[in-house]
């Protein structure tokens, strides 16, 4: 039954900033010698987790006892759940770890400033996988194979790093060396109104052209139903999160030798597809929409279909927010002309700040291991006592765990299947160009895509200009 699971949407940043403020104030009060304040909120030791299974690991969890570390994360449900079970980490290790909620628009800049100035403010942070090349080029973070291979720090038989989704491990490795422990990941999938599609006698699209045809068929703005929506807002993590899948599905290649190519015929065909689709069948304003806007519109029943992270299902299937609960269907990405379906390999992961002391690094590694461990993954997803149970669990073994699959079944038709198959078959390591200059390249592409979408430039002119700029960026 769909109401067996009552998903809790990711709260908007404004709501959280107040909470973060409150927490900072509380933390301050604690530091001033009023530790009793936090007790009411803190959970009893080991309440969420069976700490015995951790203690079964062949390492000394108390090796960094007494250390204090701060970890930057975004105010999203999946990190909120982690924060709820964080007291268990302290009980286990004696390390005082604190999560600092930072809006997604600022976490990258803040991390880069911290890492480049070597202040060591954030022992670890929720890292964008595309930033690893930049971090590693500057030697800002530690390679993790030194930690994984050290029997004193890691019991590989217990931690089972290999169990973490290979796509996510690949995305957080550079030249084969791991640099981050993935915590939460997502695949992009097709999300559609099953009732509307059924009434129109169509099913989810198998190809990108079919996707356009479906959008055309259900598009009826006079009845306040638009055919589809994709992220249109400018940003390396917004429109440049969706376009790369289309680019790759059209057979686009980011690299020609060392050169990054963005003005190839495949790139142009992909951009024209995106521009035509959105200009013809998406609601006005889509060029400024990121995924929450799309999920809201879909939840209000004004959009026939969208393609985005599987985690956004938690919003559109939430009865408190959505009017389309029980009417939602899911499917994998449509195939492009190249025959490929390409999903995102997005994930949030935890690196180790290289500017820390050895003791702090140990504490951070314990935290990373704890957060990435199977036990914590379970404790923050289906075993989580709160309403929101996260769907981005990172471990392959969890995706075949009956309890996890049960939890996911509540979202709608074919949800679990679509997500599992996407993870298994549609991940593409070359989804986006991995290079240290990604922040500049990603933003240049984002600007070009949006320029083309709003008609400031033709697709070909936008891509030519982006190519010129990217050539210059890479030359230095």
């Amino acid at each position: 039954m769909s109401n067996k699971f009552d998903p809790y949407p990711q709260s908007p940043p404004t709501k959280w900033s107040r909470r973060t403020l409150l927490k900072t104030a509380l933390a301050g009060a604690t530091a001033l010698g009023a530790p009793g304040l936090l007790i009411g909120r803190a959970h009893a030791a080991g309440k969420h987790m069976d700490l015995e299974s951790f203690r079964g690991a062949g390492i000394n969890w108390r090796m960094a006892e007494g250390e204090k570390i701060t970890i930057g994360v975004i105010p999203a449900g999946y990190f909120k759940n982690l924060e709820e079970v964080l007291p268990d980490f302290k009980t286990l290790t004696g390390v005082d770890a604190r999560l600092e909620m930072t809006p997604p628009g600022q976490i990258r800049q803040k991390a880069v400033l911290d890492l480049s100035s070597k202040t060591g403010t954030w022992a670890s942070h929720a890292a964008d996988p595309m930033y690893y090349m930049l971090y590693v080029t500057n030697n800002w973070i530690d390679p993790l194979d030194d930690y994984l291979g050290n029997g004193k720090l890691t019991d590989e038989g217990w931690f089972q790093f290999e169990d973490i989704q290979p796509g996510h491990r690949g995305a957080t490795s550079v030249d084969g060396r791991p640099y981050g422990v993935p915590y939460d990941g997502e695949a992009t999938i097709q999300i559609y109104r099953k009732d509307v599609y059924d009434a129109a006698g169509i099913g989810p699209a198998d190809t990108l052209d079919e996707y356009t045809a479906n959008a055309a068929k259900v598009h009826n703005p006079s009845q306040r139903l638009w055919g589809c929506a994709l992220r249109g807002f400018r940003g390396a993590g917004q429109n440049m999160y969706i376009y790369p899948s289309i680019f790759r599905a059209y057979g686009g290649e980011w690299f020609d030798g060392d050169r990054v190519t963005v003005d190839t015929p495949e790139a142009l065909a992909a951009l024209e597809y995106y521009v035509n689709l959105l200009n013809n069948y998406a609601p006005a304003g889509v060029e400024n929409w990121n995924w929450p806007d799309i999920a809201d519109a879909f939840g209000q029943g004004t959009v026939g279909s969208y393609i985005d992270a599987h985690g956004s299902a938690a919003v559109v299937a939430n009865p408190e927010k959505s009017k389309v609960v029980g009417k939602i269907g899911f499917a994998r990405w449509p195939k492009g002309p190249s025959g490929k379906r390409v999903t995102s390999i997005w994930n949030w992961s935890f690196p180790i700040n290289g500017a820390l002391s050895d003791k702090q690094k140990q504490a951070t590694w314990l935290f990373n291991q704890w957060a990435g461990s199977r036990e914590t993954q379970i404790a923050t997803s289906y075993a989580f006592p709160g309403a929101y149970k996260r769907t981005g669990a990172n471990r392959a073994s969890l995706w075949s765990d009956a309890k996890f699959i049960d939890m996911m079944a509540g979202f709608g038709h074919n949800y679990t299947q679509a997500a599992i198959e996407s993870f298994a078959n549609d991940t593409d390591p070359d989804w986006r160009p991995r290079l240290p200059q990604w922040p500049a390249v990603g933003d240049t592409m984002a600007t070009a895509i949006q320029s083309a979408l709003v008609g400031q430039a033709t697709p070909i002119a936008a891509l030519k200009e982006a190519q010129q700029k990217i050539d210059k960026i890479l030359k230095g």
């Binding site: 080029t137 609601p283 060029e287 400024n288 922040p439 230095g476």
Partner: protein, 304 residues
């Protein structure tokens, strides 16, 4: 050294030295917080500092400035900055003046308008940008779009199409800062000598003549000050545009300050970003210097 030589003497007198001693902490703080970062910025603009390619870092000479010359996006940003500043300052002066003249006709209750006028000014620009973005200008749900469609006009995608987006950010800036011009003009109008107007009325002048030949010349100092202050702020505008459009769509509202910010903090190219910021600084200083020069030049001419 003698005590009688005064300020032009080679050494400082005991009193002046003491004064300098007393002000030195303030001067030092000012130096550290304003002058030093400025010098550091200029220094950075002659360096290659790119976090994405740290191996290239080093002294760059004038490379960053030469790059600017061939950078289309830079010239595009300059053009937008010019349009943005000229139109928003003109609108502020014209509307602010009109409102002030109108309110002057009201015999009592002017204070209400003064208070209402303060409101937009005290809001943080980011709040203003977000407020316009979500409540006023968003398609279908925004107040402006709602009113326009209710009046039977076509839907305009204010923040989603290039030209309307530029117009929107100009309107937002004008909305927030016209009250400043209005308040200055209102204060100046209240202070104008009534006898000049009485004399003019005896000479049978009409209202337009009185405005053109009396009010406007007398308000000139106030107008010049408002133009200088507003032009300086408009040239360096940032927060409201950042919140409303982020410089987009595409680069349609990306004025120079936003481009400099993006170059430094999104693309992580601090050398080039510093050079862009220095160029904005030079432009702002040149424009305000010119305006000040025109003001004093005219003033001395009138005086002579």
């Amino acid at each position: 050294m003698s005590l009688g030589r005064g300020p032009s003497g080679g050494m400082l007198s005991g009193e002046r030295r003491f004064a300098l001693l007393l002000t030195s902490p303030t001067l030092l703080v000012l130096l550290l917080t304003t002058t030093f970062p400025l010098i550091y910025l200029v220094w950075n603009s002659f360096q290659t500092i790119n976090l994405a390619m740290p191996f290239l870092d080093g002294f760059a000479g004038f490379d960053n400035y030469v790059d600017m010359w061939g950078d289309q996006r830079y010239w595009h940003a300059i053009r937008l900055t010019g349009i943005y500043t000229v139109t928003s300052v003109s609108l502020q002066i014209i509307i602010g003046m009109g409102l002030a003249l109108l309110i002057m006709q009201i015999p009592r209750g002017q204070w209400i308008f003064r208070i209402v006028a303060i409101l937009p000014i005290v809001l943080a620009p980011v709040v203003v940008g977000l407020f316009w973005r979500t409540l006023m200008l968003s398609p279908n749900f925004g107040l402006v779009d709602f009113l326009l469609q209710w009046l039977g006009f076509e839907q305009v995608n204010w923040l989603g199409a290039p030209t309307p987006a530029l117009i929107s950010v100009i309107i937002i800036h004008t909305w927030q800062w016209t009250p400043f011009a209005f308040l200055v003009f209102l204060a100046s109008l209240t202070a104008l000598p009534p006898d000049v107007y009485e004399a003019a009325k005896i000479d049978k002048t009409n209202a337009l003549q009185r405005f053109w030949h009396i009010t406007l010349p007398l308000l000139r100092p106030a107008i010049v000050i408002v133009v200088i202050m507003r032009a300086m702020i408009s040239l360096a505008a940032f927060a409201a545009i950042f919140a409303a459009t982020g410089g987009g769509p595409g680069t349609a509202s990306e004025i120079l300050n936003l481009y400099a910010f993006k170059t430094s903090f999104v693309e992580l190219n601090f050398g080039y970003g510093s050079a862009l910021a220095v160029s904005l600084l030079v432009i702002t200083m040149a424009v305000s210097g010119l305006l000040f020069y025109l003001r004093t030049a005219r003033a001395t001419k009138t005086a002579a």
